[in-house]
């Protein structure tokens, strides 16, 4: 079985506002799925439902065969999640924070020690590991958030704008890390950086006003667009989303 994530008919309403409407897609092991769309399109809301932070108004989410509502705990075990803006406990050090996450996730002491060593190396946190998170730069905070998401080596990663706020070198590093991890995981990332989609995503979805308006490999998206300049995904994105909004 390679379908790690299956989403069907997912809808979320906030009062009168429909933030996500009838969204269906899947992600398999070995692929990076890009989630694109203008501000307020519903990307974060979709991710919050997959990770169990918000309850769907309608629709079904299955993660590794578990239903996200009836098997909430099992679902959460299989997911590593980086929320938008990477919220963290600022009063803790990365070391203390990662230890806390490991313990809550039920990892053994030895396992936690080994995993922390491993992720700290992967996202290059060595120099800040004993400093309060509050005092870290934005980029380091983002990396701590990423470390927390991959600590338990989950089959599914949901990353909401993982490279936001990173310098070009770090962006490159994180993309390399994601590509490397993709071999054995399903990874869903949201991003506003379209070169990222070309660089690491096997498939991408464009969502506007809560609906999926385009879906395919980066090249297929280029085909679907009427944009004049099809080499740049930026113009493809603008053409598709403005068409959907009008």
């Amino acid at each position: 079985m390679t379908e790690v994530l299956e989403v069907s008919g997912l809808t979320k309403r906030f009062g009168a506002l429909t933030a996500v409407e009838d969204v269906s897609f899947h992600a398999s092991r070995g692929e990076v799925l890009g989630f694109l769309g203008p501000n307020g399109a519903g990307k974060s809301t979709t991710m919050r439902m997959i990770t169990g932070f918000l309850a769907p108004t309608a629709g079904v989410i299955t993660v590794c065969g578990n239903d996200s509502v009836t098997d909430a705990i099992e679902t959460k075990r299989s997911i590593g999640y980086l929320p938008e803006g990477a919220p963290l406990y600022g009063d803790m050090t990365p070391k203390a924070f990662l230890t806390f996450v490991g313990r809550v996730r039920g990892m053994t002491r030895a396992d936690i020690r080994r995993s922390i060593e491993d992720v700290v190396d992967k996202v290059h946190l060595e120099e800040v590991i004993f400093r309060p998170i509050d005092t870290l730069s934005k980029g380091f905070k983002r990396r701590v958030g990423l470390a927390q998401a991959i600590l338990h080596n989950p089959p599914l990663l949901i990353l909401d704008e993982p490279t936001d706020g990173l310098d070009p070198n770090q962006k490159h590093e994180v993309r390399a890390l994601l590509s490397e991890m993709a071999a054995e995981k399903a990874i869903v990332i949201s991003t506003h950086i379209l070169e990222e989609v070309d660089a690491i995503c096997h498939r991408a979805m464009i969502i506007a006003r809560g609906r999926i308006v385009a879906h395919g490999t980066p090249d297929e998206l280029r085909e679907k667009s009427n944009a004049k300049d099809k080499t740049s995904l930026d113009s493809v994105f603008r053409e598709i989303t403005t068409r959907a909004e009008s």
Binding site: F53, K76, R77, I79, Y81, P87, A96, R105
Partner: protein
């Protein structure tokens, strides 16, 4: 159980990672001292007991407990860490319990630091220490009931000040519900049993029995079920917020 302990430990170290906790402890001890020695007439009564000390606890808790409990959930909402916390494989009730136990443990530490008063009274006279320990136990139990109320209210908002004000207001109602001031309001129109129920919910009345040194099962059950009920409401509030 293990996740609850991890949550509790994180919260408790959280209290001590900022100067606020130490400032709180100093204020608490200063107020306890001022109340007991000046207003309570600790010396002039000429009795070797801690009655004046415990008499003030309900009033102290009215403001001090909301200031301990207000951050429990409001802070998580404000900083967005609630998203991190609630997407970990935890049951909501375990998180609610862990946070409550941390705040209660902090209260217990504050209460334990009043031990010089206990030493003084033993130095000056020959008090009944059984009564004193029973009163400490009752005070901690009442603090837990206040705290569970405040924690549940803190889950309603992302603003700590709002959480504090709500917490203090609701605590005040529960504290006063045994006094004629409040009961008189109900007597006019409500049936007798309503008046009795309201009066039996009073923290003050329930605490007075314990503070005299008699631990009656009735009061223990009262405060215990107040705690349990508040924690369940707290859990329900968190679950409901997820759906809207």
């Amino acid at each position: 159980m293990r996740p609850t302990i991890s949550i509790m430990w994180r919260e408790l170290t959280g209290y001590f990672s900022t100067p606020v906790a130490y400032v709180f402890l100093v204020i608490f001890l200063a107020m306890v001292g001022a109340f007991t020695f000046y207003m309570g007439g600790f010396f002039s009564r000429g009795q070797a007991d801690l009655q004046p000390f415990f008499n003030f606890h309900p009033w102290l808790y009215l403001f001090l407990i909301p200031s301990i409990g207000m951050r429990l959930w409001a802070e998580e909402r404000k900083s967005g860490t609630i998203e991190l916390l609630m997407t970990l494989p935890l049951r909501t009730i375990h998180v609610v319990l862990g946070k409550f136990l941390a705040a209660w443990a902090f209260t217990a530490i504050a209460l334990a630091l009043t031990f010089p008063i206990w030493i003084s009274v033993n130095y000056l006279g020959d008090p009944d220490n059984g009564v004193i320990f029973a009163s400490y136990f009752g005070s901690l139990l009442m603090a837990g009931a206040f705290l569970a109320l405040v924690a549940a209210l803190s889950a309603l908002t992302k603003n700590q000040v709002v959480a504090f004000v709500l917490g203090a207001a609701v605590s005040f109602l529960f504290l006063m519900s045994g006094l004629d001031l409040v009961l008189g309001f109900f007597r006019g129109w409500a049936p007798q049993f309503v008046v009795e129920v309201v009066s039996s919910l009073s923290f003050l009345t329930n605490f007075q029995a314990i503070s005299r040194g008699v631990i009656d099962l009735r009061e223990v059950i009262f405060f215990g079920s107040m705690i349990a009920l508040s924690l369940l409401i707290n859990t329900a509030i968190i679950e409901l917020k997820k759906a809207n």
